[in-house]
Symmetry: D2
Subunit: 326 residues, 4 copies
């Protein structure tokens, strides 16, 4: 499997949380590109609308992009960071907001295409609910599916990767899991609609990431994009890749390879207290080392483990692969 | 909404856990029927194969059933309690076990039909995996879907309700959530395949149960059966209904009504340390009282809350409904 | 039990999260006081250093406070919102930061005393760690305890309430639970050191809040302050009080009463998408109604339930109390 | 650090859960000893009262023990497996049960001493509660502490290791965390009372196991015993050591060494679907390999990481140690 590593541009910069509005002095967009380009394992960059790029700044950003030597992997329209989306975007109860969200998506699709990139990422983080007895689940999900269908139809040549997450910033998201994303895909029925699997979101939703990759293969080969980071399973901690988990990353990389995934792996972390550039470089170095480890696993022996579903045999193989001990 | 309450027969008896093989002296099947029948709110009974009924005991059990005056709501074939299913039933890597599981399901379908009942519950608790690098997710899910398709075809007049659960007894189940159950249903494409929503399983998987009811309505009206109990969200504690949560039960009952559910609500709890009969009676009494409370909610006001998606307005309505305080 | 309700001043305003820097237009401090004062159930106000008050603004804020008619309940020094505390305050590996944190605490103690208030709240949200192999737990905890001891000694007449939380903003906090807080209290040995129990933090750490109140009673009567809000147990969602849980709030209020708590209940929520004033008013209305419900519970019957430890008997009593149904 | 590995005797046998009473044919005690003795990394054995040994079988078991060549590490009196303890042991509301529990402990202490072993393990799994409004936390905790004090006084030469766990089989345990165990120890004030840290219990309670080791060092050097297994953080899955987590085990072993722990590491897993002997052998092999990996970590560099609290520097060191990649 080829190592195609990207990062969300803002990740090499600074972070906010709900208590502290800036953990460090922010960098300019130009500086962020330079910082990302300085990490040797990276070949690509992912952008977020509003935060990193808009029609007004597109030309300027295109220049930085060219200078950086990085490939534009995807743009995610802002559907979560501006106050107007606070109560939902495509599923908002306000028809003007639903229209504005669709406009925002279409505009970002056009911008993405103009920059020669064929992948849009949609993360509907504000589409969901917080309280019991707050939402009409039937009606809002209907609006959401309609909006996505229109977005897909806007440019059938552009792939749209839907990013799922069980919660945050809402306490409950509509597109909460790999399976809810697949249900939406089947409902919409557009060939250009797939999934952006964020490894941390999968962990947080008690998914085994490798199994989620398999599900996406099984139901129409719909893995369009991968985001990657680490956490403690209970929350989207967005830590350095490999800082907490090892074996499940090996399995994840193996199944990406096994199912023939050829897309990018985009680092998506929140290094609140670390230097962003250095923390991203760590993620890239771990990814590279873990992928090499996964590849050196004895494939014939692994197939035998899976055919027997033997935990003990699998445990031996893993220990040998990881620690060199039979 | 009509109050159609049932219980799993064993619930009015005694329990085991992995440390203590019997918390109290077990009752005979005859005694269990008498205990269930003594709870005035109950109109139905659900049975589990092997534990409660088998071809050999069917006639005897039919007699107890008749004497009890209870309606047979559903039978669940044993796919989880006998050692042969320990490593999986319909998804086992052993073709003999897969065949045995299918045979067990067909036999239980026939038995259920003979007893005049049209609903089978399938809980594939052993179908999943425990360890990373243990399972071939693609192949095993394929076997599972094939088996279910054959079961559905065996008697298209009998409804089959698939019960999902995120984990336990495996650390990961294949049919883990309302959405994975729906994906299976769409794949199999049989009109007689639906879902048994266990409220506690929904809570444990960080689902809002009311939203899950809506999802099942939206994707083909597939809510065939409901199991009910309470827990602390992290595990399938199987507590008395209403002992921990109040508001989410109100919302759940409201959405069952709102989506036109006409089936049974089957109590499914594990009263390890309580008298089983009394604990079940408590659940039934709470269900009745909570359903009445949900029904007295001002429907027009609620529709306005949902149309505005207003948490504050919803909070007021709920407080008024539940505590009589504006 | 007397209803002494307060709120964190910022709660009646607007919120940020890590994605959206402002969900609505912020209010001035003066406006926030007016908004808080407009909620009839409120008698007190809690302030946060930096955000709401500093030596430079103390006089101005004192004026607003007087005009509002609210009692100053407590001030929490900023040990979590300024970038300097990002890597820890009293437990920082940098001795200058440790000193600055202690200075900040002492200065806030003086300010609090000047305003005629005898309670300081310390929330050491940045004191902990994010990654495995990141922290020297022995040394850092030692520094933290030393700092707290010095703070307690600075003004023995002022009570200091230590607020615990299992995580966030760090993935792991040092003062993580009611029991770790009590261990610190026993180590420091100062009579003016106690606990601020945030109900949502207790829930999030899988504590039963009522049991935590009992523990604080048992180990030296150390409940000095209460913060209150609701959540889904997995995260500090900071929702409207009573919007998710009912029964556990009844038990919590009962045990506050049972153990003779005479302090304030301070609302501490994050109404990202609601009008802050209205969301706080909802919390206050729920608290009032739930406390009345808890008080009308038959005390003799409850004592019998507890003496028998009978879940079934308790269930009956609760249903009767809450839903009026035997 | 010396490799002193033990196992709970029953672990090399078969398992039950609440659905399946036997996943395989059980072994005799004699067979279990032989199976344990066949694992070359094991030097010790831990026993559970009732399950493995009683006064009536002591002589017979002593014979098997001698034949096995294994050292008796500890005995845990049965306070969780017999129906009489179902509603609590030392904290039961029934004074006869409290007395019986104390008698059981004293008897097991005597038996342990007779067998030349100086360590008793107490796991009070049934002491806690399931429901809100079920327990008088003040009174029951008082009884529990009294009972433990009497047990400690029965034989001050015998160490008693108290095992904490956040839940299961009760939904809430009284001795729930490392800090609640330490509070009890401080209350009782007996020099022979310490903690049995079960690594899986720590993970399940969102503790960092290494930090828990440090806490026990800090508060009186109270780590008396270690149980070890792996899980997915949400439940006591009791999996093969190292099957899910890698880095946190390295940190755990490092801190055991750093704090001078000289006791045993007792494997405590539930291999429901695996051959028990083989699953235990896997755990032992992982422990040995992980301990060697932890020891080869550059200690000077690690001390620098901790002194700087640098996640990035720590990440580099770990990657180099584990994957050999700078």
């Amino acid at each position: 499997m080829k190592k195609k590593f990207s990062v969300f541009l803002s990740n090499v910069g600074t972070c906010s949380d709900r208590y502290c509005s800036q953990y460090a002095t922010p960098f300019s967009i130009r500086e962020l590109f330079k910082r990302a380009a300085s990490i040797k394992e990276l070949g690509g960059i992912d952008l977020v609308g509003t935060w990193n790029i808009s029609p007004a700044t597109a030309k300027e950003v295109a220049g930085y992009l060219k200078d950086s030597g990085l490939t534009l992997v995807s743009i995610a329209p802002d559907l979560f960071a501006s106050p107007q989306w606070g109560k939902g975007s495509l599923s908002s109860v306000d028809p003007k907001i639903r229209q504005a969200a669709l406009d925002q998506i279409r505009q970002t699709m056009d911008l993405t295409a103009e920059l020669g990139c064929g992948l849009l990422t949609i993360w509907p983080g504000q589409d969901g609910f917080d309280y019991p007895f707050q939402a009409d689940y039937l009606v809002e999900r209907g609006w959401f599916a309609e909006g996505i269908a229109k977005a897909c139809a806007h440019n059938p040549k552009m792939k749209i990767a839907m990013e799922y997450k069980i919660k945050e910033p809402r306490t409950h998201s509509y597109i909460s899991s790999v399976a809810t994303a697949l249900l939406l895909i089947q409902e919409v029925g557009a060939a250009n609609l797939g999934v952006a699997l964020d490894y941390g979101h999968a962990l947080m939703g008690y998914e085994n990431g490798a199994e989620s990759v398999a599900l996406l293969k099984r139901h129409g080969d719909r893995l369009f994009h991968v985001h990657i980071n680490d956490n403690y399973r209970h929350w989207d901690d967005d830590l350095i890749v490999g800082s907490v988990h090892t074996i499940e990353f090996l399995e994840f990389f193996h199944w990406l390879d096994r199912t023939g995934y050829e897309g990018w792996l985009t680092i998506d972390q929140f290094p609140y207290r670390e230097d962003g550039r250095d923390a991203v470089a760590e993620s890239a170095a771990w990814m590279s080392a873990l992928m090499d480890t996964a590849e050196k696993m004895d494939r014939k022996e692994l197939d035998s483990v899976l055919a027997n579903k033997s935990a003990v045999q699998g445990s031996r193989l893993l220990r040998k692969t990881l620690l060199g001990r039979a």
